[in-house]
């Protein structure tokens, strides 16, 4: 039975702690149990000194020098570590762009009239994106433009004459030149991923610096994938605008048909949201008061941002939602879904429903989803959940009565329109003026996951607290946003006490100008993990407004509790974009002094960005502030 101290080490979230205690009582294994069983973890993998890229392996290099100092093929620690990192970046890029490609296919089907359940929701954005891509807009139908945008998106995956448009056209010209001069402009998203797989193959690229540059180029391809995913999701499902909602396990309701939407892509989840009303009667007929959708991870962020659907939990605590015993179904698509949810779901009577051909889990019910059959599949899911509710009805559940108010949905468009209430002709001026005056000392983007190695949310909370007090404007995406929302950072009622004077005044001015009768929340929720592109878009807009490159801005990023290889590829593009980028868990690179040095120092001379690897949140916050101040000084502020 976990005692208090043990719980404190696992999570800072009181709702999660309640469920950890319950899991222990029920002898249901959770991520924390599996982590403990895994300890101590293999130091070779931990430091990047294990290579399984060929069948002569596995090779391990002894970091202490007594054993082998190179792999069987002769790869040094530097080569091995750089190759491993490249593959992580490639995997992350494959995931984000896979998500984007899925949306591109959907948009193409919409354009061709083959996906009746979907439509173009944001014509303005469609046309803006098309214009950016140099696609003819005037005098053409929305479907024609959408078809061309979708085809341009799909074309960005393979090698072609033009660079990847979603990379080349989304950054400011100065940054485009930096990337071009360094050879970091991707020629095709899939091409870069594939080339990483090629060059990291047995007996290809052994030059650690060459490998790392390829990794950065792949990282830029990841930016393209993310940016594309955001653009296309906005076109199909709408641009997010601030919505008032709430977060944490208390959003699950004992007497409703509870369906958790978990994963990343809004394609299915958005449809489930829009069809919920039509299924209400069936739910009521089963004895429920209605249907209650709750989000987990980035699917949760997508539907929260566009529909105000509450988030029940995030990332490392995903099993805890099921442990309430009140989930009737958990619907998942892909990415960050721990296979263990199937086991926990079985213990708790929840039906786990997988929906994607690439993401099946033994023990789950698989309902194959396609855009063409989306509505039928959605209804099938509702039927299962309602049937499950009938079985569950009247049985006791354990829902922690803990939830926090959240205002979420700050897309760039939403931010600009809020700022326009202060200065309609020059909306960026108020924010840039605040940066100049020091009311906003800088900007920090929190992204990434919750890592079981870190007490859940503790790094996010500690760093955000410190930065807000120091008047740093904090943006958040993904499960970083999830962490901060569950701890009240997105509740405008807390803005005053969380923020320093300058930042408080800015957030209050914007809030009041928008008729909120109070400030904006202390942390602005910008979306899911692909929506880190929104933060890039905002940085690019501010850079262009100031007439400087993005590496001159007092903007930093932090993946304080990163897990996924997607966080590594996001980190790579943040560095490529010129941002000091904090990672709060150890990247598997320490085995190579050279690679560690390049990533944390030398790359600064190339892109202006660099990694700050620091496991201590207090000192990480200091380093982020120092990086902000260095840049302010560079701008003469």
């Amino acid at each position: 039975m976990p005692d208090g101290k043990d719980l404190n080490v696992k999570s800072t979230d009181p709702a999660v702690r309640e469920m950890i205690v319950k899991a222990a009582k029920m002898e249901v294994k959770t991520v924390w149990d599996r982590y403990e069983a895994m300890l101590p973890q293999c130091g070779f993998g931990d430091t990047g000194l294990c290579c399984r890229h060929c069948l002569q392996g596995p090779c391990r290099i002894d970091p202490f020098g007594d054993g082998p100092t190179e792999g069987i093929c002769g790869a040094t620690a530097d080569t091995m570590v750089a190759r491993g990192l490249d593959r992580a970046i490639a995997a992350g890029t494959a995931a984000h762009s896979g998500h984007a490609r899925h949306l591109a296919h959907a948009l193409l089907k919409v354009a061709k009239g083959q996906a009746a359940s979907y439509s173009i929701k944001e014509v303005e954005k469609l046309r803006a994106v098309a214009a950016r891509l140099n696609i003819q807009v005037d005098g053409r139908s929305d479907n024609d433009v959408a078809g061309d945008v979708a085809r341009a998106a799909l074309a960005d995956f393979h090698e072609k004459d033009t660079p990847v448009l979603w990379a080349a056209t989304v950054v400011n010209p100065e940054r485009a030149k930096v990337l071009s001069d360094l050879g970091l402009v991707p020629r095709g998203i899939d091409h870069e991923i594939s080339e990483i797989m090629h060059r990291t193959l047995y007996g290809v690229d052994a030059d650690p610096v060459n490998l790392l540059l390829a990794g950065l180029r792949c990282g830029v391809a990841d930016l393209a994938g993310c940016y594309m995913a955001t653009d296309l999701a906005d076109i199909l499902f709408g641009i997010p605008h601030p919505a008032v909602t709430e977060a944490n396990l208390g959003t699950i309701k004992a007497d409703a048909v509870n369906i958790a939407l978990h994963g990343h892509n809004p394609l299915l989840s958005d449809l489930l949201v829009t069809r919920a009303e039509s299924r209400k009667d069936a739910a009521v007929a089963a004895g429920a008061y209605g249907i209650n959708l709750v989000g987990i991870c980035c699917t949760g962020n997508e539907v929260m941002m566009r529909h105000g659907i509450p988030a029940c939990t995030h990332s490392v605590s995903q099993e805890m939602a099921i442990l309430t015993g009140a989930l009737d179904a958990m619907v998942v698509d892909y990415q960050c879904i721990m296979p263990s949810v199937a086991t926990v779901a079985e213990c708790m009577g929840t039906t786990l429903i997988t929906t994607m051909e690439i993401g099946k889990i033994p023990g789950a019910k698989h309902i194959p989803f396609t855009e063409e059959t989306a509505a039928e599949r959605a209804d099938e899911i509702y039927d299962i959940a309602i049937a499950n509710f009938k079985r569950r009805k009247g049985k006791s559940v354990d829902i922690p009565q803990i939830k926090t108010p959240v205002v979420a949905g700050f897309s760039v468009e939403a931010i600009v329109s809020a700022l326009a209430k202060l200065d309609a002709n020059d909306p960026l001026k108020p924010v840039v003026d605040s940066i100049k005056s020091g009311n906003i000392r800088g900007v920090c983007l929190f992204a990434g996951c919750n890592n079981v190695k870190v007490t859940q949310d503790s790094n996010f909370i500690a760093i955000a607290r410190k930065l807000l007090k120091e008047n740093v404007l904090v943006l958040a995406t993904g499960c970083g946003a999830g962490a901060l929302m569950r701890h009240g950072f997105m509740d405008p009622a807390n803005t005053d006490k969380l923020c320093g004077d300058g930042l408080r005044a800015v957030l209050r001015a914007i809030g009041e100008a928008n008729g909120l009768g109070g400030p904006l929340p202390a942390v602005l929720h910008m979306g899911s993990c692909v929506d880190n592109s929104r933060a890039v878009a905002l940085a690019v807009a501010v850079a262009q407004y100031l007439g400087v490159d993005t590496d001159k801005l007092p903007v930093v990023a932090s993946a304080a509790e990163a897990v996924s290889e997607k966080a590594v590829s996001i980190g790579a593009y943040a560095v490529a974009a010129g941002l000091p980028t904090h990672v709060g868990v150890m990247l598997p690179v320490l085995g190579s002094e050279l690679v560690t040095q390049v990533l944390t120092d030398k790359v600064k001379g190339l892109t202006g960005g660099y990694f700050i690897v620091d496991l201590d949140p207090e000192s990480a916050a200091e380093k982020l502030l120092a990086a902000i101040d260095e840049r302010r000084a560079g701008l003469g502020l």
């Binding site: 293999c42 130091g43 070779f44 391990r60 002894d62 202490f64 007594d66 054993g67 085995g591």
Partner: protein
């Protein structure tokens, strides 16, 4: 009083992952963390050695803390003694790096710290509840038990493996 424990090797369980070696080096580093130890100079040495007879037969080898420890008697500097738990300990400050212990150890498990010119060897991780190598072993090929407990467990396992196939 609890019986002194020793580190035993269950050869059939060793996967040859070398995790014990890393954990040992970290436990004998100044920083006591992998991330810190990896950049220490001189590099911390490990005192357990995963050797291989053939590619598929890894053998972890470490100091047996012999009852009649040849290294202890051979030491010309009085640097090797036995502590209360029965572990044979090399005292670095007294070691003069003459390598006599290396010459007489029949297990070949005395290491040489060349930068500091000191011999080093397993100290069963004095001050830790369980030696780092034992803790690190993912397959429990290394176990920390008293002689009595270990031989009792071995007998139990042996009888189990004999009974199970017959029983069905």
């Amino acid at each position: 009083m609890t019986e002194p424990r020793e580190i035993f090797v269950r050869l059939d369980r060793c996967m040859g992952c070398h995790s014990c070696e890393l954990a040992c080096a970290v436990a004998h580093s100044r920083s006591k963390s992998l991330y810190g130890a990896i950049s220490e100079q001189p590099r911390p040495g490990h005192r357990v050695y995963v050797e291989a007879v053939r590619p598929d037969t890894p053998v972890p080898v470490l100091c047996r803390h012999c009852e009649d420890a040849p290294c202890m008697h051979a030491c010309i500097a009085g640097a090797i003694g036995r502590n209360e738990e029965g572990a044979v300990i090399t005292q670095a400050d007294k070691c003069i790096g003459c390598w006599t212990c290396v010459m007489v150890c029949p297990y070949g498990v005395v290491g040489r710290q060349l930068e500091e010119h000191k011999a080093y060897r397993c100290d069963r991780c004095q001050g830790r509840e369980t030696p780092a190598c034992v803790q690190a072993c993912p397959t429990k090929a290394l176990v920390y038990r008293s002689v009595r407990d270990f031989s009792r467990d071995t007998r139990k396992t042996a009888s189990k493996t004999m009974i199970v196939p017959q029983g069905g």
